[in-house]
Structures are given as C-alpha cells and as structure tokens.
Symmetry: D3
Subunit: 246 residues, 6 copies
C-alpha cells in the first residue's frame, strides 16, 4: 500500500509481532496472555453454571467482559480505579465493547443457562489494548467452552461459538493509513478506527473517530481494507493456537 | 430506497419530525430544546472564561459534554445515577461521544482560554437520544459562542467554529436499512450505526454495531449513504434555526 | 397588605404567574410541567403495582419523591450529583419534604399495595423550586391515580386522595412580608418560610428559618396569613387543571 | 394546660430531666454531654484559626455542624453511614439545621477569620436528638469561644455570640399538645414540631410536620406556646451551666 | 524491669488506670464503657437471632465487630469517614482485628444460629484504642450472651464463651520496653506491639511492628513478657466486673 | 524439624520454588515478577521526583505501596474492587503492611524529596500473596533506586537502602509448624504467621493469628525459628537476582 516505513521499521499495513500464550492461568477455565508488540493483556474466562436472576429460566446463557489496566501498565503511573472509588468512562466503554464483540459470535441458546465472565487486564500498554483484549478474549472464551463441554456443563453437540472474532486498530497517521497503531502513532493519528471482524470476514463493530480533521469516504474505505486484511491474519493465528493442545 | 413503510408511516430513508427550539433556557449562554419525534433533549451550553488548570497558559480553550436521562424519560422508570452513586457505562460513553463530536468542529485556539460545558438532558426518550443530543448541542454551542463574541470574551474576528456537526442513527431492521430509528425499531435492529457528520459532509464518528448478525461491506455502504443524506437535512435545519434571531 | 412594589412589579402578597401543563410526558402515568414565573419543574409520577419488600402484605401503598436540579437550571452551572458520586444535603432534604407532603393527603390503605414514585426535575430555577415541585407533584400524582383506577389497579370506589396539597414560599424582605419569593428576593430575605397547605386550608408543613435576624411571633403570624392566601389560589388552579381533560 | 399524665409521669408541658455536663472531652476546645432523659448527645467544638478558601480575606468566620448517631444508639442497630458509603437524608438535614441554628446567634465578623466545627454524636437516642444536639452545641460553642478569647485568637472585646440558642420538640399526641417528646410519643404523634428559639425568645427555626392529620392554626399556636416556655427553661439552664467554672 | 519513670509517673511495666463501666447503654443487649487512662471507648453488643444468608442452616453463629473514632476524639479533628464516603485502611484493619480476637474465644456451635455485632466507638483517644476496644468488647459480648441465655435464645447449658480475651499494647520507647503506651509514647516508639491474650494466657494475636529500627529476638521476648503480665491484670478486672450484678 | 511430607512433597521447613524475574515491565523504573510456587505477583516501582504536599521542604522522600488481586487470580472469580466502588479491609491491610515493610529499610533522608510507589498486583494466588509481594517489592524498589541514581535524581553516594527485606508465611498445620503455606495449607492452619525480616535477620513485622486454637509461647518460638530460616533463603535469592545485570 505504501513504501513508507514506521518508527519500528514496519510497513504501513504490517502488524506488530502478535503472540498468544494459551492456558497462562492455572486456575481459570480459559485464559490467554496476548501480546501485540509491547502491549500485553492477560485474558481469563470464568465459567459458572447458572445465569443472573433476570435471565433465569429463559434457556439462554450470558457472556460479559471487564477490562482494566494495571496502574503501572502505562508510561506514567495512573491512579487505581478502586482507589478513586469509581470506574472511568474509557474503562466502561472498552468493557462494553469487548462484551458486545464476544456476544456477536456466541449462540446463547447453545451455551445453555451458563455464565462466562471474561477479564482483560492490561499488564503493559503500548497502544491497541482494546483490540488485543478482544482478540485474546476470544481464545480464553473458546478454551472455557471446551472445558465446559468436557465437564458436561454444555451438551457434547452444542456449538455455542458461531464464528471466531478478532480486532485491530487502524488509523491515518501523517496522511498514511496504517494498521495496528503503537502508542506513539495512535497519539498523533488524524483518524483512529477500531474494527472488530469475525473469522468469516464480516463486521461486528466499526468505530472510527476523527481526532483532528474529519475523514472522507475514500479514507474510510482505505482503513476498512487494511483492517480486514489484518483481522484475517489474527483469525489465522487464533485458529492455530486453539488447534494446539492446551 | 424501498417502498416499505414503518410503524409510524415513514419510508425507510425518512427521519422523524425534527424541531429545534433555540434559547429555551433563559439562564444559559446557549440552549436548544431538540425533538426527534417523541425524543426530546434539552441542551445547554455554559460558557466560563478560563480553562482547567492543566490547560492554563496554552492559549487553547476546552469544550466538554455531559449526557444524562431523567429517571422517567423512559417507558419504565430508571434509578437516578446520583442515587446509585455512580455513573453507568452507557452514560459515560455517550458523554464522551458528544464531547468528541463537538471538539471536531471547534478551533480551540480561536476559542481562546475559555471553557464551554454542554449538558444534554433527555426529557423524553424514544430512540436516537445520543444523535439528537449531538445535533442540539451544536446549536447550543453556536449560541454560546455568539454570546461570548458579543460579550467580548472572544475576539470579533475569531472563528472558533470550523464547521457544523449533526448526527443520525441508522440501522438494518428486518433486512432493510432505515434512518433515524425509533425505540421499537432500534430494539429489534440487526445492525445499529450512529454516524456523526460535519456540515461539509465528512465523517467525525462512525460507530456501527452488529446486534445480532454481523454485517458485510455492502450493508455498511448502504447505511453510510443513508446517514449522509439524513445528516445533510439536519445541517440544513441547524443553519436555518441559527440564522433566526435568538 | 402594603403598597410596596417589587422588582418585577408585583405587590407583596402577589404570586408570580403560575402555569401547570398536564400530561407533558407521553410516557409517565402522570405528569405536569409547572412554572412559578421563570422557575420550571417537570413532575412525573411513575405507578408500579406492588410495594417495597418491607411493606409487602400490609395492604398499604407507598408514595415517595425525588427532587433534582439540572446542572444548568441555575445561573451558574452546578456539578451533577451523579458526577460527584453523592447527593447533597439540600437535595435530600427537599426530596423528603415533597414525599412527606404528598403522603399527608394520601390514604395508603385506599391506594392498595401499589407504589408511586414522583420525580421533580428542575429545568429552570428562579426561587421557589421546592414549592413549585410540591404543587406540580400533586397534579402528577392525581393523574397517576386516575390512570391506575382506569387500568383497574385501584378499585373504582377507592379514594386514595384525601385532599389536595400545594406549597408556597413566603418571607420577610427588607422588613416586608412577601409571597412567592423569586431568587433575588429569597437571597436577601431576613426570614424565609415554606408552607405546605391542604386544599381545605390546614397545614402539612411549616418551615420557617431566620436567615439573618430571628423573627418574632407577630412576624410569624403575618407570614402564615400570606401563605394561606397564596396556597388557596394554588389549590384553585390545581382543581381547574385537573378538571380539564388530560 | 392539661391534667393528663404521660407514660413517664410527666405533665404535657413538662420536659424530661435535662442535664448538661460541660468540658466532657479533655481534648476539644469546647464540649458538652447533654441528656434529655435517656437521649444523650456528645457535642464537641473544634476551633481552628483560618477559614475555608472561599471565605479567605472577607474578615468573617465560619461555623458549621455535623450530626451522627452511633450504630447502637437506637433500639435496633443501624448500619453505619461510613459503611454504607453515603450519608442519609435525615443526617444531612439535621446537620444543616444545627449549623443554621448556631449561625443565627453568631456575629461572624466578631468571630474573625476563624472556623468552629461542631460535632454532635448521639450516644443514646430516645427522641429529641436534634433538639438536644442544638442545645448542647450552643454550650460547646460558647466554651470554644471563651477558649479562643483566652488564647488570643479572638479580640478581648469581640462578642461573637449575639444571643444563646436552644431547641425543643413539641407535638400533638392523642390530641394533646406536649413538650419534649420521647421516642414512643414521637412515633405516634399526629404533629411533630421542632422549634429553635434564642435566649431572648425569638424564633430561629420553626419546623412543623403533620405526620398523620394536617393541623390547624389553633393547634399551631398551642404548640408554639409550649415551645417558647420549654425553650426558656433550657436557656436558663445553659446560662447556669456556662456561669460555672469549666 | 527498670526504675525509669514515664511522663505520667508510671513504671515501664505499669498500665494506666483501667476502668470498665458495664451496661452503660440502656438499649444494647450488652455494653461497656472502658477507659485506659484518657482513652475511652464505648463498646456495645447487638444480639440478633439468625445469621447472614451464607451461614444459614449450618448450625453456627456469627460474631463481627466494627471500630470507629468520633471526629474529635483526637487532638486535631479528623474528617468523618461517612463524609469522606469511604472507610480508611486503619479502621478496617482494627475492625477485623477485634472481630478475629473475639471469635477466637467463641464456640460458634454453642452460640447457635445467632449473630452478635460489636461496635467499638472511640469517644476519646490517647493511644491504645484498639487494645481497649478488644478488652471492653469482651465484656459487652459476655453481657449479650448472658442476656441471650436469659431470653432463651441460647440453651441454658450452652457455653459459647470458651475463654475470656484482653489486649494490651507494648513497645520499646527510648530503648526501654514499656506496657500500655499513651499516645505520646506510641508516637515515638521504636517498636510497637499489640498482643491479644486469652484468660488462660495463650496468644490470639501478636502484631509487632518496627516503626524505626528493626527489633531482635531478645527485644521481642521482653515485649511478650510484658504483654502477658498486663493482659493477666486485664483478665482479672474483666472477671471482677462481670461477676458484679449488671 | 520433622519427617512429615506435605501435599506437594515438601518437608515442613521447605519453601516452594521461588523465582524472581527482574525488569519484567519495560516501562516502570523498577519491576519484578515473583513466584512462590503457583503464586505469582507482578511488582512495579514508579519513581517520581518530588513528594506529596505535606512532606514538601522536609528533605525526606516517601515510599508507599498498593496491593490488589486480579479478579480471576483466585480459584473462584472475585468482584473487582473498582466495580464494588470500595476497597476491602484485607486489601487495605496488606497495602499498609507492604508499605511499612519497605519503609523499615529505607533511609528517607538519603532518598531525598522523591516518591516511590510500589504496586503489587497478584496475577495468580495460591497462598502467601502478601509475603511474595513484600519480597518482590524489595527487588523492584532496589531497581528503581538504581535507576534514580543513574538518572541523577539521587546523589551518587546516597544509600537510601539500609538493608534488604523479605517475608514469609509460617503456620501450624495439623499440629506441625510449616513454612511458606500454600492455599490449602493456609486455609486449614490452626495458627498463621507472617514474618517480615531484614537481610541482617532482624524483625520488621511479626503478625501471628490464631485461626482456631490460641497458641502458646513454645509454638510461637518454633514458628519464629522457621520464619528466620526461610527469610534468610529469600534474602540470598534477592541478593543474587540484584547482582545480575538487569
């Protein structure tokens, strides 16, 4: 797409090194430690038979997510939200995004009356924490569903996962559309877009924001192209990781 | 686009009746009571000379927004967030969206070291409260800037407003892309998209979410077409309202 | 009582223009938008079958109220209580006053095991917000009771309303007792009194406070006379408004 | 007024045994342990040179008050407000009442730029906790002012106290107006009135509430008569206690 | 142990005057006002039949404790924790310590499915508030258990109290081990240790902290000797107080 | 001490495998990922020039610590403290313990007016999280001090670290004193003791608690012997890790 190179030597369309370590937690029903370059997120999935009271008896399950950052995951230490006594707007917004993204690929009927809570805790942050969270959360979720099937909480033939889901941030930096923005790129991007895509290439979420100058239809199209290509790589990696023994 | 009609008789591409009453508040520096059908939002702009401490001395202004719903704006009464002692995720998310949308059309240098706080309080809710809020907030903001110029807080020649901004929700309901969803439509939409557009037709925000089935590129394109057309109508109305005497 | 005139041309015993718009909300079971001059309060009544757990099975209903001000209802913007994370003393005090005033004219046995929550949200504040709230809340309450009777939640012959209730603020300003104080009057009053009176002219609440100089028995008597006269006018208006078709 | 006797043998116009123990706290600048029968309140006055920022440089002082109940001051244990994480409406209302009552007899100019915080902590509650608090708070306040004069924080000739202040609850119980209601009387009173009166017999606050049946003008007058008589006794006791050596 | 004398004339191993006033509260099921010199703590025990939901049906009771300080118990007024909206670390820590200490001498099976909540409210603080609280709490607890047995909530032969419990603070001040530190001693101690001891002389808690210089094994041993001796005196006093008629 | 073996094959006096990975975080001034068997804690040290306002100008630095657990670090998922809106008693208590332990080996004068905040976030919990936190926190602290010296924030010759510090939990399980309890051991221990020891073998904290049966002097002595031996091993490991290149 361009022969420009970035601070870390990547081409505009290139993602950072992505690694996913399955089963990092020895206690959770599913877990993954995912890295997008220096960004590291620990994703755990907690499976509990039963659903919240307002869902009881409807024959459907529930998947929800919570996102948080360790206070010193960032370059300057942030105050803990538990100490401030309330959760900030950005945290809420990302938690809700992760939950919606996962629910888009879950068949809650097939899940049965079971609850899965995904926790995405950012251990180190260098841009793309929400997209890494979604991508890693899917792996933890898939592990937890395998566990639940093995334990008999979910019927052998039930297929609660309709598809996989991954996410990537793309943006226009210095006039050039780029994939998987690191923090320094993100902070000077003119437009920033988080795109959540299924394994079969459809959109679950498209969240584009003009940070400086509003963007036009052609720029929007270029960003979507980039996002679909990167998301496809992530889906491939998820598949590979999940096909290994845990 | 379609000859389907909706519960309230509209065609898919048709917005509800939109009205904007300028200067509704006798005490705020700017205000507008905006209706999108039964959805009614009171938008006020509070102008204060000076900026928060972290901006002092940088020669730039600050615009921020807060969104809230009256407890009985909805069909069933909700608990007040002041009573629960914390602000929910959805409220935070919408407040942040309104603020970002307004800042996209503000030249903070031209605003000078002044602060404008926009409050969008939903008096009655029937879908589209966030898009009505953004559209009304722009009118309140423009009024406050006129007031500040008249009062000498902003230089006569300064143009803090680079463009206008309006927003509309579009979605796919029963397979058909539709504009300006009412609550009953929104609650059964397969895809829901909020689009924030400048007066000159560029995007400030695109937030599309698959509620049920993920959406493909062609559906995304159809929704963007609808959104641009409706936003253009809203920009026209804003212009008309602001050209009247307050 | 005096031939003094006030800033807005009223005589000491004269109230501001009072208007009550019934059924302002299309979704609440009862509602009224009430104005005392520039003071505007939106009162809604939310009817729910059933009572809180601690009342279940006692055969009596429950009426409660919550009062709040929009952040820019006042001359200077106030911080939202939801943002501060707690409700201030004044808000609590007024919410409790409204609730007590309404319960004084409710026969909770006749209401049956039903709950009515009244919300009084001040859209614009120019003194007298608590008295306008009580006066408007009664109209919303009466509407909700009519609705509940029509819907069969309350027996046809049950009379949950034993009387009507209205409220007025009176005070001594510059040595002269005056009725229905506007904000500028209230802020320089020597004594400030809120009086809640039934349609039949008995007292529900008398809350008199010396802001500067303590007041003597004769002054107290003069204020009570004024309050009873103004309250009688308000009762008349409530009756007229409620006798119209909604 | 009546030859009726009450559960504890008092006549309707008779107060319970009232005792005031000055200087109960060895660390506060002023303090009093006051009892109205079984109701016991520890009142302390904390004197600090200087005023809150918003008052600095105006040459006036500040007096404020906080009221609280120990969790087992009552017959059934209440949850601590510190544990619930917020202060209830009743607590706020009484704290504000105590503060207003004291400020009514303070000349803040004569106090100079000094702050006095009064704490009224109910150790045992049997009705009348707010009136006992006000009555005891005045003694603690007077002690703190003497201390401040002795320490040179207040000029020798300054007279920050313009008058004394005391309070009593009166009410109509079973049709009979009575003074200084104990808890069992208060809980079945038709009308309950708290009256705050200066040493010279003028009103600072009159707060009358119909708990059951609204009250008429004649009943109001009878209650005010009772309140003035009891308040006069309390003023006398305050004077006596303060004339003893601390 | 030493012929050094302290500011208040005590020898290093000597406690301050300790008094325990049983039944101070007329409403609680058990209570004690305890003084260690100027430190005064009001301890109440609230007995309720039944246990929290998570214990129901297990045949065991529950004992818990809450500790708090009045805002002006200290030399400088502290902000109330109810006003700050959260409970500080120190308060939590001491509440938990008191609860654990009492549970160490309770046979929860013999208590049956009953709950006892102990409140320790510091009325005046001069060091040793947590140890005075534990020592007084035991007396209130014992009273409440006697009350419950008399009322038939606990079987006549049941012995919920396996032993008594008392606590003392010891420390090294200026190189000398001392018992029952007053505030001025505590604030300059090199090592501070709170020791909770049963009536039969075993340890329930040992909490030693080096404030300045770490301490060695010999110093630790000297402090434990002192603590056991003082705790023995406190046990004796508890026994004496509880053998009197309430 | 005994030939008993434990569930994981250890002898009573044997610690679990302990590993310390220095510099785990690429952004903090100091960091260590420490494991005591399955217990894993990420410790970071954030260095900031300057001190809180109340310390300014006194020439001394400040070291403080915060402890938290990831919601799924435990076997069953816990609710986040940020979601509950307040920090629990146990969290506060451990944060305070870590801070005190580190301050015991810091010369705050030599640190100069600089602040170091230590965060200990438990990624996986299997008993001993507070002792692992203290032991890892020391390594992060030492790294941050080296960094600050290299950056010139601390004088080349200043020695803010007076000694090292480590901690271990010991306890009596089934009658046998054991070192470094895993969760299953800890939960059935009769006595549980956390001991914080300097590199030179003196005590900083001794916190022993009888969970079931009170403990006697001989048992206390046996536990202290065990703790000193294990702490010595930890000190050795800290020294080794810190002597490696970061």
């Amino acid at each position: 797409m361009s022969d420009l190179t970035r601070a870390d030597g990547r081409t505009p369309e290139q993602m950072r090194a992505v690694t996913i370590e399955r089963g990092w937690s020895e206690q959770a029903e599913g877990s993954a430690l995912i890295s997008f370059g220096r960004t590291k997120v620990l994703c755990t999935a907690s499976f509990t038979p039963g659903v919240p009271r307002w869902l009881t008896g409807k024959g459907t399950g529930w998947v929800t997510a919570e996102y948080a950052m360790l206070p010193r995951s960032t370059n300057d230490r942030m105050q803990r939200e538990s100490v401030r006594g309330k959760i900030g707007g950005r945290t809420h917004e990302i938690s809700r995004l992760i939950g919606r993204s996962l629910r888009a690929v879950i068949d809650t009927k097939a899940l049965g009356e079971n609850t899965i809570v995904i926790d995405c805790d950012v251990l180190q942050a260098d841009g793309g924490t929400r997209t890494a969270s979604i991508t890693g959360a899917y792996v933890a979720l898939a592990e937890a569903i395998s566990w639940a099937r093995a334990e008999g909480h979910i019927a052998k033939k039930a297929q609660p996962l309709k598809d996989s889901v991954a996410a990537v941030s793309v943006g226009i930096v210095g006039g050039t559309p780029m994939s998987d923005l690191a923090y320094v790129e993100d902070s000077r991007a003119e437009t920033d877009m988080n795109v959540v895509v299924t394994g079969s290439g459809d959109f679950v979420e498209v969240q584009g924001t003009a940070e400086g100058v509003p963007f036009n239809r052609a720029e929007l199209d270029a960003l979507l192209d980039l996002a679909l290509a990167s998301a496809s790589e992530l889906s491939e990696l998820q598949r590979a990781v999940l096909s290994e023994a845990a």
